[in-house]
């Protein structure tokens, strides 16, 4: 059960990453590679600030803002300096590697026995259970710390999902979605599409950094390598979500992304449990995304072939 709760918690935390990527990859159709860097950026900043004694909440918020900044830089490289979108992302991601090292001062910052954003909830739970260290959940003993982490991730995730879905249905959000759909049309409506791209990337990377901040607090450390492959992770989650519930409607897309992330995390936890070498994890993820991308086309191809054959017969 601890494993499941853990998977759920990480899934929820990474949902913020996936939601951020939902904005860049799906809403404005921007292949944004900054993600790998901005996740670490969020983690690094929070770790360093918390270690320096800042309040976890404040540290997390700073991480969010830093992520937004990173996203804006990518956006500006793309819109202002007309650098290809992938290259813009790569440039910022690469630069962030050094920035992150600078922030942390070394490649790893541990956060042992420091406060996290789930601390208030932990206190609350402790009070409710009269200082017990475990809570009984469906007959399982779950540590209060883990329960608090889970509940606070759930809360944060729900709040952000709700805000995001509301935001995307405002005038501004509508325009943002249209930017990915038809730039020409958006410009004809008097909208500065470049500004929309910059803003979307900022928001997206803000969420990614937030996810990184929470992840660092949950894991108890920030590592300069922790962002590597996160973009593919997020993409895999989005794809699973779309396969699960489809993408018609904003609410559905958001819910799907969250489910997808959690499910993907669970799958990985199970795979690891069954003896998958953690070093192979990224390869397996990449393979999975590859399959998810080509399978629909491949199925169509086979379908057509079969149809042709049956016609000839």
């Amino acid at each position: 059960m601890n494993l499941v709760i853990g998977a759920f918690t990480i899934g929820l935390i990474l949902s913020l990453l996936s939601l951020g990527m939902l904005i860049s990859f799906r809403m404005i159709r921007f292949t944004d590679i900054t993600v790998d860097g901005s996740l670490t950026l969020g983690a690094a900043i929070t770790a360093v600030l918390i270690a320096a004694g800042w309040s976890p909440l404040l540290a997390t918020m700073v991480a969010f803002v830093a992520g937004m900044l990173a996203g804006s830089v990518t956006g500006l490289l793309y819109t202002r300096f007309k650098i290809q979108e992938i290259l813009s992302g790569i440039l910022v991601m690469t630069a962030l590697y050094s920035v992150n090292l600078r922030i942390m001062g070394r490649s790893n910052v541990p956060l042992l026995d420091t406060a996290t954003v789930s601390l208030p909830l932990q206190h609350l739970l402790s009070q409710m259970t009269d200082g017990e260290r475990y809570i009984l959940l469906f007959g399982w003993q779950v540590p209060v710390v883990d329960m608090a982490a889970f509940l606070s991730s759930l809360l944060l995730c729900a709040v952000f999902a709700w805000m995001l879905s509301r935001f995307l249905q405002t005038h501004f959000g509508t325009v943002l979605r249209a930017t990915g759909n038809n730039v020409q049309m958006v410009r004809a409506q008097g909208i500065n599409n470049n500004m929309m791209v910059v803003f979307s990337l900022a928001l997206s990377n803000g969420l990614v950094a937030l996810s990184g901040a929470l992840l660092a607090q949950y894991q108890g450390f920030a590592d300069v390598q922790m962002g590597i492959g996160m973009m593919v992770w997020g993409l895999a989650s989005i794809i699973i979500g779309e396969a699960l519930v489809g993408k018609s409607g904003i609410g559905i897309a958001i819910a799907g992304t969250i489910f997808g992330t959690i499910l993907f995390r669970l799958l990985i936890a199970i795979a690891l449990r069954w003896g998958l070498n953690p070093n192979d994890l990224k390869l397996v993820t990449a393979l999975f995304v590859f399959l998810a991308l080509v399978a629909p086309r491949w199925f169509k191809f086979v379908h057509v072939k079969i149809n042709k054959k049956s016609k000839h017969a």
């Binding site: 405002t170 005038h171 501004f172 509508t174 049309m185 008097g190």
Partner: protein
């Protein structure tokens, strides 16, 4: 209303691919007039419309729209003054978004897009009412993605969106060319209806001589980046399709008239 002076645009200047798309265009469009622009392929019709809409900045010349010098305004800034419908029915709407969402954007063309709910029930009622003018039954499908509509329906909606807020000028670039004959006729009719009813100032590029003769009250003919004929007022009323074809023919004949023809006629014409 619209005053264009000495407009010049050359694509790929000083290369072998140099195209003089606009050569010194002077054009004044009166308020409330409906002008058709006709001309051969590549004569610069779309380029002229794009110059007005701000897709690019001209090499020289000036554009004054509704008293505002818009020559160097970025495209999105001009959208406040300009409504556009493109040839491609997919160009004017966001396919994956619903009819209502698309229209809501058009309702605030050139205005700010605040953080308030976009498709409110009030907006919905207004959309329903105006969409029903199209008589396409779309008022009952406001929550369907626009991508599920036919080209004709999309083009009709785009037209409606472009004129939702009265533009200073409406630019139509072969907006019926990609439609089947029946839809094209319907959209043409709708164009005339909306332009008349809202008393719009409009420019329409078309390859349909019939449309050029039927819909507008002025016909401008372009060739090789220049205006070669301009039928206005009573001249426009007299113009029939054969006259337009004859003018096309004459312009092309003039082109075939090269040095060798000059030499020939100098010897042969008496």
């Amino acid at each position: 209303m619209l005053e264009i002076k000495g407009l010049i645009k050359t694509f790929f200047p000083h290369t072998i691919n140099e195209v003089k798309a606009l050569r010194d265009i002077d054009l004044t469009i009166q308020e409330g007039s409906f002008t058709a622009i006709i001309g051969t392929n590549g004569s610069g019709k779309s380029t002229l419309l794009n110059a007005i809409a701000g897709t690019f900045i001209p090499d020289s010349g000036s554009i004054l729209l509704a008293g505002q010098p818009i020559t160097f305004w970025p495209e999105f800034q001009r959208a406040k003054l300009i409504g556009r419908v493109f040839q491609n029915p997919f160009a004017g709407t966001a396919a994956e978004m619903t009819i209502a969402e698309n229209i809501v954007m058009a309702m605030r063309r050139g205005l700010s897009h605040p953080l308030s709910k976009a498709v409110t029930s009030k907006a919905r009622a207004e959309i329903k009412e105006r969409v029903s003018v199209l008589k396409m039954g779309l008022e009952d499908r406001l929550d369907n993605p626009i991508g599920t509509l036919s080209g004709g329906q999309r083009q009709a909606l785009t037209l409606l969106m472009a004129t939702w807020l009265k533009p200073k000028i409406l630019l139509l670039d072969e907006h019926t060319a990609a439609l089947d004959p029946k839809s094209a006729a319907k959209v043409a009719e709708l164009t005339k209806y909306i332009v008349d009813k809202e008393k719009l100032t409009a420019m329409m590029v078309t390859h349909s001589m019939q449309q050029a003769v039927d819909l507008p009250d002025r016909i401008v003919m372009m060739h090789k980046g220049k205006i070669v004929a301009d039928y206005q007022k009573e001249h426009k009323q007299r113009v029939r399709i054969p006259d337009l074809l004859a003018t096309f023919d004459r312009v092309q004949k003039k082109e075939l008239f090269d040095e060798s023809v000059a030499t020939l006629l100098r010897e042969q014409y008496v």
